[in-house]
């Protein structure tokens, strides 16, 4: 009997323990519930506060200002990119202007030298100097045209042994045709190897004054660094030479002729005036 009672007492204790635990758990749940409810109330309040704030005109203004600042930032970034591009453009332009400046200096020196004398041989020497020192020609000739026979004759040559005394009939070959048409000839394939062939002109510049052709500058070979490509200034120099060299040659020839005529006339005058030293 005692044992039975003991069992019942033990079970009652167990039950009570479980019941207490249940009670504790319920208490905790109630507390948690209370805490959550409190939190919900707080969040509700916060939300209501924010809703009120969003209706506040100050906030609206700030929002607008923020949008403006964002827009300005984007605009500034774009402008910065533009300025950067402009800067690059200026740098490129500066290099181009520098190059142009150098080219103009070359052209100025060349024309200045060409018109610095009326002596025919001196003019020839200057053309040769320009061709070597400014253009970078290695092998070339200067030819003058005899209008009556229509033959171009070499009057100065540089870097050539064979073909230095060549004569070309107008209309014949590259040189003859270039002179006949009065058009500059530039070999479209400058880098091509023409060795083994007869002298092959790479550049032919007719020397012209208006419609009159006086002769030509014919280049057969350029210096190593120019063998594959002519720069723009080279072409400018050639064009300048075509005009200025022709004028210089023409003026010097006229000057020589007038000098000769002057000497002859002076001789006559001296003869007529009976000067003893004639």
């Amino acid at each position: 009997m005692d044992k039975k009672e003991n069992d019942i007492a033990k079970k009652a204790e167990d039950f009570l323990r479980i019941f207490r635990k249940g009670e504790e758990f319920t208490q905790e749940l109630l507390k948690e519930n209370e805490r959550l409810r409190y939190k919900i109330i707080k969040l509700e309040e916060e939300r209501n506060g924010l809703v009120e704030l969003s209706d506040n005109p100050q906030v609206e203004k700030l929002r607008e200002r923020l949008a403006e600042v964002e827009e300005e930032r984007t605009r500034l970034i774009d402008r910065f990119k533009e300025v950067e591009e402009e800067n690059k453009g200026f740098a490129t332009r500066y290099v181009e202007v520098e190059e142009e400046n150098n080219n103009l200096a070359n052209l100025y020196v060349a024309s200045n030298q060409l018109h610095s004398t009326l002596d025919f041989n001196e003019v020839m020497r200057i053309i040769i100097e320009i061709m070597i020192n400014l253009v970078g020609a290695e092998k070339f000739v200067i030819m003058l045209l005899d209008e009556t026979s229509g033959v171009l004759t070499t009057i100065a040559a540089e870097g050539l042994e064979e073909g230095a005394n060549r004569k070309v009939r107008i209309g014949e070959g590259i040189i003859g045709k270039s002179v006949q048409n009065g058009e500059n000839y530039f070999d479209p394939d400058l880098g091509a190897n023409h060795s083994g062939e007869e002298l092959h002109p790479v550049v032919c510049i007719p020397l012209r004054i208006k419609d009159q052709t006086l002769g030509a500058i014919v280049v057969f070979s350029l210096l190593e660094q120019k063998k594959t490509k002519l720069s723009r200034v080279d072409e400018e120099l050639f064009l300048m030479l075509a005009g200025h060299a022709a004028t210089a040659v023409f003026s010097s020839k006229l000057y020589s002729q007038s000098e000769r005529k002057l000497t002859t006339i002076q001789g006559f005058i001296d003869l007529l005036s009976g000067r003893k030293d004639v």
Partner: protein, 127 residues
């Protein structure tokens, strides 16, 4: 930077004018021209130069002889010398550098290249 004095030794008036034209772009530059080595030595006696540019092939005294004479004179030893050679004159170029030239330039001369070499030898960034 004070005055920079250049002596340009070149028999070709065209080249002389071109080099002078290029050097004039350097602020405060003074350029004296000589037509050959003998003329250059005369001018060296008369005034001080900061840099000499010399051609190789010249009458009376060529550029190589001039370089050797300048370098053998203690008074001129420190003056930088640039020799100007035509393309394909490898020997002259090497001889020039061996005799004491500081740099060389090949004809046809490019102004930018000339100014770059000059700037390097004068150790200045001011132009």
């Amino acid at each position: 930077m004070g005055e920079v004095r250049f002596l340009v030794v070149e028999d070709s008036p065209t080249m002389r004018q071109l080099i002078t034209f290029s050097l004039k772009r350097i602020p405060n530059s003074k350029i004296v021209e000589a037509s050959d080595g003998v003329d250059a030595l005369k001018k060296l006696k008369d005034e001080h130069f900061d840099l000499i540019l010399s051609d190789i092939n010249m009458p009376l005294m060529d550029g190589l002889k001039l370089v050797s004479m300048i370098r053998s004179n203690p008074a001129y030893q420190s003056i930088p010398i640039i020799i100007v050679t035509t393309e394909g004159s490898e020997n002259d170029r090497e001889k020039g550098l061996a005799l004491g030239a500081d740099a060389y330039l090949s004809k046809p001369i490019q102004t930018n290249e000339l100014l770059k070499v000059v700037k390097g030898l004068l150790k200045t960034e001011s132009f």
